[in-house]
Symmetry: C2
Subunit: 196 residues, 2 copies
């Protein structure tokens, strides 16, 4: 059974996550400040660091939740009864729509820089792995004779490719009329990459 | 003939561009500060704004130069005597190597955000267009029956895809061993997307 102190810590942790998530998903990562966060969660600034090592660790926790929502969103919109190509295109399009309608939170997934000295956290790899498994599935149907290593390489290549089209597209780097154009780019690439 | 005042303005402009380029390509966009820039170029802070509307305009000028270097780098490394696929893969690989060895300058190309209220500048569209023409060339050889619109869509899709693989790859978002893995992703995607 949790002691009162443990319970208080768990409550504070939940309030900090909820507050940080609100800020990150509406205003973006840059808007997260310790002072405002503490005020919103009803604690002293120092109390934040009794439940998280630093703000980055709190951001990673929020990012893990965003990643899970993204995975669910993509899964709900995957055309499971279509051809493998249909499934891939529907997943890519779902990724675009999640990013477009959750921009601050989606950006925060990639804005927190990961360098060689700070290893990629396990939860991130786990969430990414779950998303990759969904992409690998239709690829295995399309290329039954490919090795696991080749399927894995193509999975990562396609995820990165769709990410690139969504990222540059939403920033109007490659076209003045984003959404419809990005959808068509995703479709032309994914249908072509997987045509025999 | 240029008057003395015009000549002084042109000299100042050149010194400011050279100084800003040094900072952006070695330390990154975030390191560019008006005070240090003025000191380095030997002028008063206010003098910067007699030749540039604001610092963003100066950054755009530096970015145009970086973009031109990128285009030249890619062109020099394009396997012109290979198959269209070879040409595409060599261009993608060249993009990776330019990005990896010019990270601060390459990032600055995309870090200066372009929003709906600040239209994409003409020089950017011109440089992008020149790069896109190089990509469209082998695609036309591969798909002679495709319309111009479809070639254009695929050109932008492939550029964005390679950009996504390079971006996530260099940040170790999709693999712990970047360079070799990114090269193989680029090759598997480009060879597959363009196989008949």
């Amino acid at each position: 059974m949790a002691t009162k102190t443990e319970q208080r810590r768990a409550d504070l942790r939940d309030r900090l996550i909820a507050s940080a998530e609100r800020t990150i998903t509406t205003e973006g990562l840059h808007a997260l400040k310790a002072r405002a966060l503490a005020q919103d969660a009803g604690c002293a600034v120092g109390a934040i660091y009794t439940v998280f090592d630093d703000l980055d660790q709190l951001v990673l926790t929020v990012n893990a939740r965003t990643f899970r929502r993204l995975g669910q969103f993509v899964q709900d919109r995957t055309a499971m009864d279509g051809t493998p190509q249909d499934r891939l295109v529907s997943m890519g399009t779902a990724y675009l729509h999640f990013a477009a309608t959750n921009q601050p939170g989606w950006r925060a997934l990639f804005d927190l820089s990961m360098t060689a000295d700070s290893p990629v956290p396990d939860w991130y790899l786990a969430e990414l792995g779950a998303l990759f498994a969904k992409i690998a599935d239709p690829l295995r149907d399309l290329f039954p004779d490919w090795s696991d290593a080749r399927i894995d390489l193509m999975t990562r290549a396609l995820f990165s490719s769709v990410h690139g089209m969504v990222l540059l597209g939403l920033e109007r780097r490659i076209s003045a009329v984003p959404m419809d154009h990005i959808e068509r780019m995703i479709a032309v690439l994914l249908r072509n990459v997987t045509s025999e």
